[in-house]
Amino acid sequence: MRRLAAITVTALIATVTACGGVGGSADSGVYTTIDGAKQIDATAPINPFNPQGNTFLGYDAMTLAWPKNDPVDPNRFYPGIAASWTVTPDQGEVVIHLQPKARWSDGKPVTSEDVRTSIGLAYTQGGTAYAVDPKAAGSAADVRVVDARTVKVTQGASKSNLFLRNVLSTVVVPAHVFGHLLPADFWTTLKAARGTGPAAEKAKAQITGLAEKVISFAPAKDVSAGPFTLERVNPGEALLVRNKHFYANQNIAPDRVKVLNYTGNQQIWNYLISGSLDSAPFTAVPTGVLKRIRETEGNEVVKGFSPVAVSLAFGQTRKPYDNVHVRRALAYLIDRSQVTKVASPEAGTPAKTTTGIHAKSAQAWLGNGIGELDQYQVDPAKAAKELEAAGMTRKGGKWAMPDGTPWKVEIHVPASFSDWVAAAKAITSQLNDHGIDATVLTAADYTLYLDELAAGKYDVGFWLMALGPSPYNIYQRIYGSANGWQLLAGQLTHVPPGTQGNWMGGPEIIDGINPGALTSRLNAANPDEQRRIVGTLAKLTNQQLPVIQLYDYVNTQFVSTSRYTGWPPADSDVLRLPAGVWMQLGMIKEKAGS
């Protein structure tokens, strides 16, 4: 009996001990957040070139500059490792001046050689400003160290107006840690690779052959120039501690940052409800859960612009969606407000119409021109006229194909996207009410969905669009590779529907306009020409409806005022940046008495 009592007491003490001290996040000087960009993998290297790498942009990993959330201009930035920069009007030459006080966490200064090495490493990964192919639009032709704190990057002959953006987005790593990954003759090889002939091909292969080595490299410890450095990581959390050498240390309030892993939105909701997080990235939240999150003391919601929209896209080679009248009829029957209310009431606003652009950007690009476009307000009578114009027939209250066979609208969505599934169900319900037999079909996961979409297996499916702020990026989603236009080595080609990922299958020329060519032109056009092209593409998209724009996403973030203050206000142009950048900019301060 005495033994039993002893065991019971021990168990009680253990339980009390185990249950005590929960909520370490509330420790003074600790900032707790979640990195929405990736799940934590404790086995991944501390390497920003590794997609799963244990580096956290804005906290330890630094880019030259941080993009502002501007609805129109993609070339507006806040300083990062670069204190300032100058650019020629044609973006042919970018001169970067580094922060004079920038140091790595091991105390060594950040120099131009670090930037040059980082650019060299970026070349091994290919793409954007650092494409090895000299014909690729917007690729750098030369990287020159001007002095210890100044670097000049020159654009090649095939110009892109995104060159500055892509250069300033370069992640900077220390040459004394990563430099050995580049062979001694790297820059000579790169020069050879930018030529022509077999020697150039061999040199290209040598450079791209370094990609795996660069991705796999695992430094023994984190040497960063950001406000924090990674102290340790386990599969559930990462701990970053203050970098005493950070150039703007006076701006940084927390001593430590805890990044929590998450495997699903439910965990973020739980963390928010329990008041554990100081800030959380955008997460889809049902209304009831949002209410509970708001009820937790200190929790606040900050909303801002997010250049992303969701649409219903058509396989335009598949009948009857090859007929523009059918697509228009569907646009007249879908109540976008109702769909948004059901699918994304907190993080979406109904699309005003289909332009291909997020409403906020569209206002800036098109101005009053939006009013001249068809708004596609719900109008069953117009829809019926459009369907009749397409030769569709109505039998027993149900619309049928022109040859009299039943018309069944199958809307495909990935099962894991709850707002898309809800939106698809709302749409099918609306279509059924108007005599169109519609069903929702789900793909097991997003990877499978994309594969089947690209293979042209779907008549109608959901598609992310309006990915701004660059107008090229926006229209590339509609008139890019998914619709047959491919830009390889600066050469634009159009491949037939059903091949090489062309699942949208729209015509190459519509009313004398080649939308893919215009989209590609957006890359190099000056602002006036861009405006004209965007106007043309918005009108064409509105008339032809390769997609029906359903709702524009709203960047909905959560912050807690319990421990920190100075959060970005609603619609701030830093809202899409990590909280580490907010700290760098001096925005977050410890709450008095916390």
């Binding site: 001990t17 249950c19 001290g21 929960v22 909520g23 370490g24 420790d27 929405g36 993998d41 086995t43 991944a44 290297p45 590794n50 997609p51 799963q52 990964q125 290919g126 793409g127 954007t128 650092y130 995104l162 892509n166 990609a211 795996e212 660069v214 991705i215 796999s216 695992a218 990581v233 386990n234 599969p235 559930g236 959390e237 990462a238 701990l239 805890k258 892993n261 998450y262 495997t263 699903g264 439910q266 965990q267 739980n270 963390y271 329990s274 250049p307 992303v308 996961d445 997003y446 990877t447 499978l448 994309l450 594969d451 089947e452 690209a454 992310l464 990915l467 990026n473 590339q476 899409r576």
Partner: protein, 334 residues
């Protein structure tokens, strides 16, 4: 002794053949799962707000980690790697070996699943005996009903329920993760307490979810044994209750022993729902993520570990069964 060695050799030969068959079948299935992992990763980045060019750059190098060559070449290369202890390179964590990832996840699976299995087994078996002996009383009924109820509730419901209770309504335990990163890893009180705190809800969920099965099985088994002639004979011979209880328990537990051994083998399959709910980075979560990312090497490696664990558990159960049940050892002559 020769018999044991002969049995063991036979088991091992069959086990290796089984592992090869399962490995081959899973290899073919995995390589034929539709979905382009690089496109999936690209769209994931787009969804997170990355520009198309940037996303393209971030994913282009992943092509180097995809398997190349004919299916046969890939298969022979895979088998050759396995023979040399190489499970390949992960695509979702490029540059990291599959064995490293599995090793890292395995330790987080063992704690909640093993803890939960043993806890539920001990509780279920002990209370199952009482439920059978007192089956006509209120206690027996209550125990049987608790078993039936918990047996019918899915793991994820129990998980969500205990999360709501212990992290929101009465917030005394952490909502997720394996351990608080603030504490220095090692054999120190703060770290161990944190480990226990974080493991409590996953273990509790697993134990509650499995407890019903054990109690019902044990109750049924004991009830069967209670009707056997040898129990009647023992009672008539006036044996002490403790001796009688041992007779009952030892005979009734035999069928459960096999289930326990297989459960321990299944342990390496992880507990997907529990790991997901509690953000516990075990093998189940690793497998699910690898399927989502179409990480062929990681999927193959995880399936292999699960297969080997089950085969080994089967062999162990078979051999140990002979130890605890003399009838098996002597071909039923005892």
């Amino acid at each position: 002794m020769n018999t044991v060695i002969r049995r063991l050799t036979g088991h091992l030969a069959r086990g290796i053949a089984m592992i090869w068959v399962v490995t081959t079948i899973s290899f073919v299935i995995i390589r034929n799962i539709p979905g382009d992992p690089v496109r999936g990763q690209y769209e994931k980045l787009i969804e997170q707000g990355m520009g198309p060019d940037q996303a393209e750059r971030a994913t282009a190098a992943l092509y180097g980690f995809l398997p190349t060559g004919s299916l046969w070449d890939q298969y022979t290369g895979y088998l050759n790697g396995l023979i040399h202890g190489d499970l390949g390179q992960s695509l979702s964590t490029p540059g990291t070996g599959v064995a490293t990832l599995i090793g890292s996840a395995a330790k987080w699976t063992v704690l909640p699943v093993l803890g939960g299995t043993l806890l539920s087994f001990l509780l279920g078996v002990t209370l199952g005996v009482y439920a059978a002996i007192k089956r006509s009383g209120k206690l027996g009924d209550a125990l049987a009903i608790s078993g039936s109820l918990l047996h019918g509730v899915p793991q994820y419901v129990i998980g969500l329920l205990v999360t709501a209770i212990f992290t929101t309504l009465w917030p005394i335990l952490p909502a997720g993760g394996p351990v608080d990163i603030s504490f220095e890893p090692g054999f120190n009180a703060a770290y161990i307490v944190s480990l226990v705190q974080h493991a409590t809800l996953p273990v509790l969920t697993y134990a509650l979810a499995s407890y019903g099965g054990w109690i019902l099985a044990m109750k049924s088994s004991v009830a069967t044994v209670l009707g056997d002639d040898f129990i009647l004979a023992a009672e008539l011979r006036g044996l002490k209750r403790s001796v009688l209880f041992r007779y009952i328990a030892r005979n009734a537990i035999l069928p459960l022993f096999t289930i326990l051994a297989l459960s321990l083998g299944m342990l390496f399959g992880g507990a997907i729902f529990i790991e997901t709910i509690f953000n516990y980075p075990g093998l189940g979560l690793l497998l699910v993520n690898s399927i989502g990312a179409r990480d062929y090497a990681l999927m193959g490696g995880t399936f292999l570990v699960i297969t080997v664990a089950i085969v080994v558990a089967n062999i162990a159960a078979d051999l140990l069964y002979a130890v605890i049940d003399p009838r098996v050892r002597t071909g039923g002559a005892a």
